[in-house]
Structures are given as structure tokens and as C-alpha cells.
């Protein structure tokens, strides 16, 4: 380790490229950013801007069957995640860096009880006994606000609503108290009322567990109260960076202004014919 204080995560010149036959398309074109311990950072951009691929680089997760090649460096606690061997990565993935995906409907195994899926992760990462893992699973369900957790642990995913499933996925993600939680569009598939609950839950967990949060979304409305700093992405590049307050008050780039203007507002009535 070097003597200088290092951020929890230092990304430098990250690139991502899909190779299809002789055609290659670069979807992340050299981006750099830091995330400090306990810091909350937002990434905003439209579909296809490369924000999800960036997040996956931190977990070194490539979509199945793709030939995704990453470049640059991703230093996590001084270790370059793009260089370490898969064994080391398995220990970091899910344990030190965890991820919550967009679609709570398809991210859980439909034939296993919710409790079993949490226990699985707990046992894998902590080597806990079956009974201990079970206890921890109930604790975690309780932590994410599922009532009557001990009984609900024996239910299957289809017995949970979309919001409850997202809570289960968050429970799995925070089960090992990760240093960094990546939330990739965690509320996009949910109702506004449920979205508000999930955002509050993420805020509370971040505070209670002292995690850093990387929040990825296309919706500036979701970002507003959640993060300290924002990176706006367009076409594989970061086009604007700033504190969330500065960016909302005084967006510099036309693209950022357009994204902000697109957020539906309660206080602005549309002009009706």
C-alpha cells in the first residue's frame, strides 16, 4: 500500500469495448472518478450511455456470452480489480462490493424461498453454520423493513410484491456489510410510492452501515436527495461532474440542462389544449 491517503475506489481511464467479429464498439470511452469511503455518488444518463457497463466493471461482471473487454484501472483499496485473479475477485464481489439490479422480478430464483437465497450468500461469504445463517437472514429481512420476517423467510419470491422483492435483493446485497453498494436503477421498475420507500431504505442503510453508494439512474428526480456528487454520462463519457446542489442550481452543459428539464414536476402544470 502507498502512503498517500487513497479513496475507497479510484477509477482511471476506464474503457469498455464489445467485440463482435471484426467489429468493435466502445461503450465506455475512458472515464475517471473516485468514490470515498461512505460517500454517495450518482451516475445519470440515458439508456446506452455506458453507466451500467461502468458499474459492472467494478464487479467485473460481463453479460453472459459477450466479449466485453475492459481497459484502464479500477483501484479498490489499492488493488486493481481488472488485474486480480478470479479467486480474489470472488471474495470482493458480493462481500466488499455488492450490487442491486433494476429488475426485482427477474433477479431472484423463483424456486427457492427468499430465506434460502439470503442464507446462501451469508454462508458462502462468512462460512456461517446453517442455523446461524438462518438467524442472519431473518435479521436482514427485518433490517430492510419486511414485517414478520421469521415467517416471510419461508415464502417464495412470487408471494412478494415488486417493492418487497427489491427489499430482499437489498438485504442480500448488504448481508456482508459491503464497503460499496452499487444500485443500478434500483427503483425504475417500481411505483412512485414504492420508489420513495426504497430510496428511504437505501439512505437509512447507508447511514447505519457506513457504506459508500454508487447510484445509477436516468432520472434526476431520484438523484436529488440521495447523493453528494453527480457524474452525468453521455455516449460513454462523463460530460459533467459536480456536487448535487451545484448541478441542480447551475448545470453547465446543455445535455445536463435537458435531462433536468425532462423531470416531471408537480409544481409545473403543462399547457393543455
Amino acid at each position: 500500500m502507498m502512503g498517500a491517503p487513497v479513496a475507497l475506489l479510484q477509477v482511471r481511464g476506464l474503457t469498455a469495448q464489445f467485440n463482435r467479429g471484426d467489429a468493435a464498439s466502445q461503450v465506455v470511452k475512458g472515464i475517471s472518478f473516485d468514490i470515498g469511503a461512505g460517500e454517495s455518488v450518482g451516475f445519470v444518463g440515458e439508456s446506452g450511455c455506458g453507466k451500467s457497463v461502468t458499474a459492472r466493471a467494478l464487479m467485473r461482471l460481463a453479460p453472459e456470452g459477450s466479449s466485453l473487454a475492459w481497459g484502464g484501472t479500477v483501484l479498490f483499496k489499492g488493488q486493481d480489480l481488472l488485474q486480480v485473479n478470479e479467486r480474489v475477485m470472488q471474495d470482493i464481489r458480493g462481500r466488499r462490493i455488492a450490487m442491486v439490479f433494476q429488475d426485482p422480478m427477474s433477479s431472484l430464483n423463483p424456486v427457492l424461498t427468499v430465506g434460502a437465497q439470503i442464507e446462501d450468500v451469508v454462508r458462502r461469504h462468512t462460512g456461517a453454520s446453517a442455523s446461524r445463517a438462518r438467524k442472519r437472514a431473518v435479521e436482514l429481512l427485518d433490517l430492510v423493513g419486511i414485517r414478520d420476517a421469521a415467517r416471510r423467510a419461508d415464502d417464495y419470491p412470487h408471494q412478494f410484491s415488486g417493492g418487497m422483492r427489491q427489499r430482499v435483493l437489498i438485504a442480500i446485497a448488504v448481508s456482508c456489510q459491503p464497503d460499496l453498494l452499487i444500485a443500478d436503477e434500483p427503483t425504475t421498475a417500481l411505483d412512485v410510492t414504492v420508489q420513495a420507500q426504497i430510496l428511504r431504505l437505501l439512505m437509512r442503510l447507508r447511514r447505519e452501515l457506513g457504506m459508500a453508494l454508487m447510484l445509477i439512474t436516468h432520472d434526476f428526480g431520484v438523484i436529488a436527495g440521495m447523493v453528494d456528487r453527480v457524474h452525468v454520462m453521455l455516449d460513454g463519457r462523463i460530460v459533467e461532474t459536480g456536487s448535487v446542489d451545484a448541478l441542480f442550481a447551475n448545470p453547465q452543459q446543455a445535455y445536463t440542462q435537458a435531462l433536468l428539464a425532462a423531470v416531471p414536476r408537480l409544481d409545473v402544470a403543462g399547457k393543455l389544449a
Partner: protein, 324 residues
């Protein structure tokens, strides 16, 4: 301002519409839509807002006769849809169309855009066969797509472009009334704004009426003349757009409004740090005694509906606590 003049015969008239899903083994039947009533005038938009499972999609499907209703009446252009013959209903389908939520699954992946748009034209024989190509090109232009792209397949388009194709398909037969079921929920915020603008301009140009189904009150603010808030199969509040936003009167409407993120970091941070009011609306319907407005409906036999302004009413059901 909107001129919601109460016309003698509205374009769409829904009265006491109910839908019951039959009981599954050992369970009670589900009353998914419970005596829903509203009118939609020409070139007007009624937004039907509520959370997943509140029955708003089922309401839209029952109006279009895609779902059997268990009671009530639906009149479009003066015709009682439930009493039409098969052929009669097929003819009426020209006047009512559907835009679905997910443009990724509502287009046939192996049909070109030209085929997709020509199909309703052929089925309903809206235009002579030799003019179909011209009409397809016209529809593409109408929704802001380049007519040169008609020979492409759905996968070659982005989500927003696909939703434009779905809209063009609905408009092919020149309908009077379109049910838009969460038409932008699957899209990026920036694309949402474009589709909403398109729907608004089409309404102005073609005089369309919309039933606009959504779960987000902020989104419908830009499109709706009137708003109906739905909860557990019932409409709990209905009124003009300015009335519902200016004076939300049902606690559930207020909960929906409160859930919308405020695009202001200082306010939103404060909002998220406060613990949410954990309001439970279920099972707290007073069976007897005074309702939230102090009226005993069991005794008076009146409907659980209270006018709070001209054309703005609220249900006294699903109030979290009885009147103090």
C-alpha cells in the same frame, strides 16, 4: 384553463363498472374494479392514477371489452358496448384503441413496421388497398418517424421510437378514444417527455380523447384535464387537474403526491431523512357509524362520495382513521 363543459352526451360514459375475478381454490373472488364511474369528453384526457394492483389497467381493459365486466355500463359514442354483437363490437373497435406499456413486447418482432401499421388498415378496411402504403407513410410522419424506415423490424428501433410505432398503430384506424396504459413507464425520463409531448400534440391535431393510466401524479400533471385517483378497485378522488393538485382531499392522493421526488436536493434530502408516514389504508373502512365526513351512509343510504368543489369529489372510504 380547460373548458370542461358538461356536454349532453360525453364521448365515453362509464357507470358503475365492476370487474370480479373468480375465486381460486379456497379463496374469495377478487373485486378488482368496484363500481367505477366517469365521463370523458371529446379531446379530453382523464388520467387514472394509482399503484400496481389498484385496478386501473383492468378498468382500461374492461372499457375496451378486452375483459368481461361483472356489472355496470360502458357507452362509447352513445353505443352500449356490452350489448353489441361480435360484429358490432368489431366495428366499434375502429373508434377505440389501446397503447400498451411495454413497447418491447407489444410489437411483433418478425413483422416490419410497414406490416404492423398496415394490419389494422386491412382488418378495418379504412382505406382502399392501393392507398395503404401512402397511409402508412402518413402515420410514420404523424408520430415523428422517417417514412423511409418502414421496412425495418422492431429491434432496429430504440424504446422511444418503438413507442411511437405503437402509437401510430393505434392511430391507424383514426380512433376517437385511446386507452394509454402507462405509455411511458418503460422509457427514460428524457424520452418520456418526448412521448408525452407527442400524445399532447396528437390530441390537439386529431381531437383524440385519452384515458391515460399512470402511477405517477407528476407525470400526468402535464397531460390530464381531469384526474381520477384509484385505490383498491375504487375511485377515491376525482376532479379537474387544478383541483386535485391544488386541493388534494383524500389521504391516499396526498400520499401519492408526497411520493413524487422533488427535483431540489435540499428539499428532497430533508424529505428522505424524515421517516415516511406509514399510512395503512387497508381494512379501515367503517362499516357503520359516521364516515370521515361525519355522515352515516348505512343509515342515509347515500353513496360514499362527497363533493369538495364543483366537479371535484372524494370518497370517504379508505381513510386511515375515522373522523376525530
Amino acid at each position: 384553463m380547460t373548458e370542461s363543459v358538461q356536454q349532453a352526451v360525453p364521448l365515453l360514459r362509464v357507470r358503475d363498472l365492476s370487474v370480479t375475478f373468480p375465486a381460486r381454490s379456497g379463496k374469495t373472488p377478487v373485486l378488482a374494479v368496484n363500481r367505477v364511474s366517469f365521463d370523458i369528453g371529446r379531446a379530453q384526457t382523464l388520467a387514472l392514477v394509482g399503484e400496481s394492483g389498484s385496478g386501473k389497467t383492468t378498468t382500461g381493459r374492461a372499457i375496451l371489452q378486452l375483459q368481461a365486466s361483472s356489472g355496470g355500463s360502458v357507452q362509447l359514442l352513445g353505443y352500449e358496448l356490452g350489448q353489441l354483437s361480435r360484429d358490432g363490437l368489431r366495428t366499434m373497435r375502429r373508434h377505440m384503441q389501446f397503447v400498451l406499456q411495454n413497447p418491447y413486447s407489444s410489437l411483433h418482432p418478425r413483422m416490419t413496421v410497414a406490416q404492423t401499421l398496415a394490419e389494422p388498415l386491412r382488418v378495418h378496411r379504412c382505406v382502399p388497398v392501393e392507398s395503404v402504403t401512402a397511409r402508412v407513410a402518413e402515420l410514420m410522419t404523424l408520430v415523428g418517424l422517417d417514412p423511409a424506415m418502414v421496412s425495418r423490424y422492431p429491434h432496429e428501433f430504440s424504446g422511444g421510437q418503438r413507442q411511437r410505432i405503437v402509437i401510430a398503430r393505434a392511430l391507424a384506424v383514426s380512433p376517437d378514444f385511446v386507452v394509454c396504459d402507462e405509455p411511458v413507464s418503460a422509457l427514460d425520463v428524457s424520452t418520456q417527455a418526448q412521448i408525452v409531448a407527442l400524445l399532447k400534440s396528437l390530441q390537439t391535431r386529431l381531437g383524440l380523447s385519452y384515458l391515460f393510466i399512470a402511477h405517477d401524479l407528476a407525470l400526468v400533471r402535464q397531460v390530464a384535464h381531469r384526474i381520477a385517483v384509484m385505490f383498491a378497485g375504487q375511485i377515491v378522488e376525482m376532479g379537474g387537474s387544478d383541483q386535485v393538485y391544488g386541493n388534494p382531499s383524500h389521504p391516499y392522493t396526498r400520499a401519492l403526491l408526497d411520493a413524487v421526488p422533488v427535483p431540489n436536493p435540499v428539499l428532497q434530502r430533508q424529505k428522505l431523512s424524515e421517516s415516511a408516514a406509514d399510512v395503512q389504508f387497508h381494512g379501515l373502512v367503517p362499516k357503520a357509524g359516521p364516515c370521515a365526513f361525519g355522515e352515516d351512509h348505512a343509515q342515509s343510504g347515500t353513496a360514499c362520495w362527497h363533493e369538495v368543489g364543483a366537479g371535484h369529489g372524494v370518497s370517504c372510504r379508505f381513510w386511515p382513521a375515522p373522523a376525530q
